[in-house]
């Protein structure tokens, strides 16, 4: 199973991320975001920990992904790995530890402006699939 893939969209970036568990699919969505900003392999030089809350599962995903845009612009943090991901499916709360590096060491091809709810879904078939569109 691939971690994620990109689909057709005229102006923006549409992705699908996969996982055996919801946690894995969430983590792979974040990697799709990171890969939309740079294709280079990011090193793990820094570690951060954060928690996110949501009103429902989609909202939790939105807030989780938006956190990376925030960390990117405000701290120049670029993600390499998500670990210790825990999702409380009843309370829509998430905590994780992320690894990454200083953004200015890499070259970029797009500026993700925002996470959107456009065509977003989170579902379980054989495995978990998350779909979303990043506004660029």
């Amino acid at each position: 199973m691939e971690k994620f893939e990109f689909l057709e969209h005229t102006a923006d970036i549409k992705f699908q991320a996969f996982g055996e568990t919801l946690e894995e699919a969430f983590s792979n969505s974040a990697l799709a975001l990171s890969n939309s900003i740079t294709e280079e392999k990011i090193k793990s030089k820094k570690e951060l920990k954060f928690q996110v809350k949501g009103k429902n599962m989609e909202n939790l995903l939105y807030n989780f992904l938006e956190e990376f845009l925030f960390l990117f612009d405000s701290e120049s943090f670029l993600l390499s790995k998500v670990k210790e991901m825990k999702i409380n499916k009843e309370k829509f709360e998430l905590s994780c530890v992320v690894e990454g590096d200083e953004a200015n060491k890499y070259s970029f091809h797009s500026d993700i402006k925002a996470i959107t709810y456009n065509e977003m879904f989170i579902k379980k078939e054989k495995h978990w699939i998350i779909q979303g569109v990043f506004d660029v």
Partner: protein, 470 residues
Amino acid sequence: MIKKINKNIYEIPKEEGMNVKGIIYASSKIIEDIKKDKTIEQIKNVASLPGIIGKSIALADAHQGYGFSIGGVAAFDLEKGIISPGGVGYDINCSVRLLRTNIKKKEFISKQKEVANVLKKKIPSGVGRGSPFQISYKELDKLLKGGSQYLVEKGYGKKEDYLHTEEEGKLKNANPLKVSARAKKRGIGQVGTLGAGNHFLDVLVVDKIFDNAAAKAYGISKNQIVIMIHCGSRGLGHQVASDYIKLMEEKYGFENLRDRELINAPIKSKLGKDYLSAMNCAANFAFANKQMLTHFTREAIREIFPNSELDVIYDICHNIAKIEKHKVGKAIKEVCVHRKGATRSLGPGRIEVPTKYRKIGQPVMIPGSMGTSSYLMKGTKKSEELSFSSTVHGAGRVMSRSRAIRELNYSKIKKDIQNKKIEICSGSKRGFIEEAPEVYKEIDEVVESMDYLGLSKKVARMKPIIVIQG
């Protein structure tokens, strides 16, 4: 479902739920591209919003966007109408500034490579917290209120810079308290940065003049070197849009909307007013951003041409909602015009046009894609009747990024561009392919269709010789 009304004018008749009809201004060739994605559906969706006046408009560079299409114009009644972050776009006041130099092609060409190298060093793409110009939060608040005027007062430019900017580089009614701490954190380290993606700084040569009187008023002549800067409000603007989409969803819900992305608030509601004020702050950030980039550009060019003078011809907004006076029926009325990927195109006599250009009309810059021509046009009276004084903002995409990566060949595009003797500095290989000329509509076709209808008229054509991609 789409009816051809006249050459370059297509109508989407009113259907159930639409308050007004839809209109597309584009050539028959471009209409076929427009039909390929959700643009038509989005024009209809916008036509269904409360308080929309006249018609839901799309221009020749239209393509699918967030809720509202890119290349879209919609005006709303101030009493009954709405304001929508999706109608402005995530990159609030993504915009274009054109500078003229006192350098001619002949003397420039011998130094082309040197200038490209200096610009590459001096113009930060600034992804992440990437600007060499760092300010305090107190100063940021002043900048959000003062736009480019604030930076000129600080010594980073001259008065003429903002006098030749839409709204004189400072939108009033901009309260920094309406901008979240998170948005400020995203933007504080990014004043004076291009950002990646489709943002750029181009050095161009004026290669053809169509309108001598207007070219004279705008201060340009054949073979003159000009510089175009395209960028927006960076992370700050993106977060303002995200924040208010969230707040409006919480307050009004999206269950009754035809599309969740059409989320909006009544213009006269508190939330509507708050968004307008925050949006104005982000717009001022974008004006200031270009002011700082102008400062860096002046420094860079002076390293190679010590006697160079760079003057702002004009600076225009692409993604904005504005309260403006327009003719509605027989009366002149204040309305809220949303322009998303569209440019204001005010004709002669309008008070908003700088005195220097008032007899001619407002300068309108239409950037082409990387490696193709860009155009300088002028605003018209005709656009008042047809499009709430608006015209296109560029070529408009036709190919998705993923398809570009799959189908286009990096070496071939690079060679094509090098054959045109253009120096390219791009952030990454993938970013380069994603912005290749092949992914955009033909700029000449787009510009011709506007010129034919009189939404804006051609003044000059410019060919790129240096492209700094963000």
